[in-house]
Symmetry: C2
């Protein structure tokens, strides 16, 4: 399998990207990497070229570039060339830590949607607290700000495939994020989405779930519109960050006794931080396009790059996208 | 001032309600309490009747009653009688820990909206982490699942008054919850709400804020539609709960050393829990109706009842609602 890598995307590019790719290349010798970016900048960090090819380009998309315009005009940007390679079947998947909007645009305009999917969405895997490495999958976390019930229905199918094929969850439970658990709860969009989900026998729909229960594992796949999903994801991040700050204050601003307590709990606290760091489950997948397109945080370090490559490897190995393509083709044939 | 209390609402009623009211009655001798509910049940816990009058009724609204139907049909329910007392000017404010939907309905149908407000919303005050008792005010956290830009604009005016009069924040910063900070970000509703907020010189609009920054105090008043606000509030609660669970595990599941560390940090951790417990700032206000109507969690204990009475006292003492009524009247006169 071949992965096209935008080596110039993100705050720590190309260093973090190159180092993370080398980590992954060492572990997965069935992957060939195509690194798009400035050759001399990349070479500065590339100490082992096994399975790695550089495709030089001077152009790149900046984090504050207008996404659609940048993808249309910067034909030789590292991200655009990497996406083009996927479209041309020279690569099987696209990875970037760059401008999110531009990556969504490149995914949609260059690589293209799976037939049957109206709006690909962003999917992330988040920890289920109290389990050993358990995750739930939240979709959409921000690809589409305005969402129709049918989009949410499609997220449920996509998310189910992802949970099953990539996360190994059998018959994954699908929940609709809502403002109450009763069937009649919600806004206009969720009320109509509920009916679509309840009437689709191909998914294991368990009904509405509330945001309070997400991290406790209320469902394996939680679907919502991209505006709410974005707010929920960022609220989880912000609250976790604030709580870590509170712990720090609890240890450092309460005298010697507390400091000693903190010292004794150092390892436990670092485990705790690790639990909340969801980048170890990979990046955000633009799911619903014809190939794996995966994004990590702009501030990503090499470990997160490595974990994201691992995630892409799992997506390719499981053929989850091929299976989705067949699912929607079969549905279309039935409908004809 | 007189507060009408639904003594029968919530899981711990009437015990928690009566005990909390007695705590408040001891501190605020300018408040008279009207307790609506089953007299003998209330008397079981009422050890001091100073400033407290019981109005007996056998009927009450259950937590699973259909809100609108219950308010319409159960004419003698404790909550309905308490709301009626406010409408009839026998009381100045309404407190309940009962069925949220029913309280919203009673507030809207019995007490009625302030002229100029289309949709009253629910406002809560949440902690700003890293400050001494600092809060920000989030509105709407769930009164209206479907929201128009003009509703959000009204929340901004209401929230500004609340932050200023009740929380003592001068020239409070108003932020619009959005999926990015740039002006052009958002869904259809937030894009249009942005323009309304930016064009209102009566509020200190600072632009879009992201959910990640809420607990860091990005704004004093954060406005959003009731669906997203509900999800954000419940996500904060759920994440904080999960993090407290992680701390507990960190202490109890990592051997003697960690247990000792936990012992040394016991007081600090209990402070931390206290910071996150936002019930000490009072309950959720149904803001935009003609009198203070305030709700606490169904599982509320006497302390939360006491804090909510304190909050209602501040609302009444500051005349925030009278001032809002005048503001909207003046606007109407100008528009004529």
């Amino acid at each position: 399998m071949k992965i096209a890598v935008d080596a110039m995307g993100g705050d720590n590019a190309p260093k973090a990207i190159v180092e993370g790719v080398m980590m992954a290349a060492k572990e997965y010798n069935d992957i060939e990497f195509l690194l798009y970016g400035k050759e001399d900048s990349i070479r500065k960090y590339l100490t082992d070229e096994t399975n790695i090819t550089i495709i030089h380009t001077d152009e790149k998309i900046a984090s504050d570039d207008d996404p659609v315009r940048a993808v249309r005009r910067k034909k030789n940007a590292s991200m655009v060339l990497a996406a083009q390679a996927v479209k041309d079947k020279e690569a099987d998947a696209l990875f970037s830590a760059g401008n999110t909007g531009a990556l969504l645009t490149a995914g949609l305009l260059i690589i293209g949607r799976i037939k049957g999917i109206d709006r690909p969405g962003l999917l992330v895997s988040l920890p289920v607290i109290g389990t050993e490495n358990g995750t739930f999958n939240l979709m959409d976390v921000g690809a589409n700000a305005d969402t129709k019930p049918e989009n949410i229905h499609q997220y449920a199918i996509l998310g189910s495939y992802y949970a099953q094929f990539v996360r190994g969850i059998k018959n994954p439970k699908v929940g609709l994020l809502n403002n109450g658990t009763e069937e009649n709860k919600g806004n206009d969009v969720t009320k109509r989405a509920y009916q679509l989900l309840a009437n689709n026998a191909d998914i294991n729909f368990i009904g509405n779930v509330e945001a309070r229960e997400l991290l406790s594992g209320a469902a394996d796949v939680v679907v919502t519109d991209g505006f709410t999903g974005n707010a929920v994801l960022k609220t989880i991040e912000g609250t976790a960050m604030s709580m870590m700050k509170l712990i720090k204050n609890a240890v450092y601003e309460n005298g010697t006794k507390a400091k000693l307590g903190g010292l004794l709990l150092k390892d436990s606290f670092s485990n705790m931080k690790d639990v909340m760091d969801y980048s170890k489950h990979g990046g955000a997948v633009l799911f619903g396009v014809k190939a794996p397109v995966v994004k990590t945080h702009g501030s990503t370090e090499k470990d997160a790059v490595y974990h994201t490559i691992k995630q892409i490897h799992e997506m390719l190995e499981s053929h989850v996208i091929d299976d989705l393509v067949h699912y929607f083709e079969a549905k279309e044939t039935l409908a004809e």
